[in-house]
Symmetry: C2
Subunit: 215 residues, 2 copies
């Protein structure tokens, strides 16, 4: 286990805690006092650390995410949907069945106009409904031009992301979960920077010189 | 003032609170006991409510945002940057000067590769640096293919959003702030739904039938 500490950079008490909580699979027993840990343990530790420290998930949510990742089978859109559903933001505490029974008129209209395959049990539907209602209330309605731009470009981003992912189903699920959680902040920051660039180009005839390089 | 309550839907004690806090500009004095409120008060109330209730900003942050919106002048990329900087997430409590003096190697490399005009004082730079570091740690590095896709499509989204905005500078600033805060949740939800659609198309030869319509 000391080798696992070294290979992963995770302190021993933390590894023992993850083993007790069932987040990390036990090593292969070699003798009464020794167990053997492999590359898959190092990899799993990186996933657990990312979910806890970078995404900020509580241990119970991490267990849910890992359970979906570990389900044998194909990386279908239902399993990807379930894995991503365990990530924040949580629109509410309703079950998938309760969500399916509910109507989401704004989200439904938007998704149907885009022609996407969708599942009303997926929490992103409720998340979209709330976000559209809030934006509309504040005077930023989702008109067709805006929806068309968002739909086209976000679909293209999703296609690239999925094409860059691994083929093997459980590796793909892990990638989908970490990719969703960890690239959302990248996307939001880049969009704010894109706004700054577009505004700069719009308000000046020629682009200003780059800012001085910090020394 | 009772007409303002009716026109805005905001309760009287809340309006008085916003007046005391300096968020809402006073009405024009008509007599010793009467003041006149206009369309601009109704509009400002909608902005205040959106920032407090939908974005979840504390009153002090709302005051900062409104101060930038109210600054006379052009909607340059510096003023848009300052207004958006008052919105969450807050990467840290550093001043613009401190941020400019700091190096952001991952963000710098990404933005320079995209060829965007940028300002190192803008908090989105620090936000991007953190997000890229976290994603890289978890095994999702920002390689050129991913950066190219994000850059191209987010820039196109930003162009559409800015083209849809008003021309008048202070109205544009208000739109930029509310648009940033309120459409980020829309974009994240749509991206998750785009992933579901792409996965569904990838794992099935033909798209499945649409889910049944809730009655």
């Amino acid at each position: 286990m000391s080798e696992l500490v070294e290979a992963s950079g995770v302190p021993l008490p933390t590894i023992k805690y993850y083993l007790r909580e069932g987040l990390l699979q036990p090593g292969e027993t070699v003798s009464a006092t020794r167990a053997s840990y492999g590359e898959e343990h190092v990899r799993r530790l990186a996933v657990i650390r990312a979910l806890i420290e970078l995404v900020g998930l509580p241990v119970a949510r991490v267990r849910e995410v890992l359970a979906v990742i570990d389900t044998p089978g194909t990386a279908s859109y239902e399993t990807v949907g379930r894995a991503i559903s365990a990530l924040p933001p949580y629109p509410d505490e309703s079950t998938p069945e309760e969500r399916a029974a509910r109507d989401h008129p704004l989200a439904r209209a938007a998704i149907e106009r885009l022609g996407w395959t969708w599942d009303p049990r997926f929490p992103a539907v409720a998340q979209l409904e709330r976000a559209l209602a809030a934006a509309g209330t504040a005077g930023i309605p989702m008109d067709d031009g805006r929806l068309e731009a968002y739909g086209t470009h976000l679909h293209a981003i999703a296609e690239t992301e999925i094409a860059l992912g691994p083929d093997e189903p459980s590796a793909f699920l892990e990638y989908a979960v970490l990719g969703t959680a960890l690239t959302e902040p990248v996307i939001l920051a880049l969009r704010r920077l894109a706004h700054q660039d577009v505004t700069a180009r719009r308000t000046r005839p020629s682009p200003p010189p780059q800012p001085p390089q910090p020394s």
